[in-house]
Symmetry: C3
Subunit: 109 residues, 3 copies
């Protein structure tokens, strides 16, 4: 038995939840911030059999992998025109940090 601890962006959290449920994996979600990823992320705890680890890692990768995304320009607020970028810019979104831990003992009551 392994416990997969995965930190993903809030943006990808619902999609990952849905994909895990569709594949019969059960996850507990903890609201988290900062650190491995930019502020606003979710920490998933997923308990799986040893032979399911690579399947779950594939699901996390498919749904959360870091990618570039075009972001439309936003009009500057409060006259801070210096930092205004008048064209869409590519930003990095998504990404997942995953720790797989060995489980000594697993119980369900």
């Amino acid at each position: 038995m392994k416990l997969i601890v995965s930190v993903v962006q809030d943006k990808d959290s619902n999609r990952l939840s849905t994909a895990l449920v569709e594949n019969d994996y059960r996850a507990t979600k903890l609201a988290s911030t900062g650190g491995f990823l930019r502020a606003g992320n979710t920490t998933f705890l997923i308990g799986v059999e040893d032979e399911q680890v690579s399947d779950v890692l594939d699901i996390i990768k498919e749904n959360c992998e870091s990618r570039e995304q075009l972001v439309a320009p936003v009009s500057p607020m409060g006259g801070n025109a210096d930092s205004y970028v008048p064209y869409p810019v590519e930003v990095q979104v998504g990404g997942a940090t995953v720790f797989v831990l060995d489980v000594d003992q697993f119980e369900q009551f």
Copy 2:
């Protein structure tokens, strides 16, 4: 040293906290959702000596074990009378999912 990670329903969370304190165990609680149990659960982190694991598992089982409970009928809101059940129904409540992890090193500062 072991770290016990236990996901329990919010409903049983206070009772488990009290029972752990009464037995001199200290737990950290994290608000969590979904997954192992229906929405609204609490993840307990409990650090214990190896020989205390079975005692803590007993306490979790006694306070959180899955059981059936009679729920009184609720009058339908908004006229959704189709799904109205006019007699008490048994629902499954409680339940705990527990992972015991080995601790490499433990420190208190």
Copy 3:
């Protein structure tokens, strides 16, 4: 690879975050309550190489170690004058509980 799980008082949480970032360590923070420390604490998840563990433990100790602090007297509310202490008192603040877990597998997507 190790996963350091550290529970610290909210009071020290920002200082620890800053110190970790300054030393190029990345942490995920989870809001937590009770247990190892008095109510209102933060659980840090910090993934590090095996040889970085002692450095991170030093940083946690420096920023969160339990210490005494003088607290100014507060005027009694609601006439509960019996428990009023008219001079500053020393209270214990801070403190960290740290679990170091071995990581089986680490992935970043």
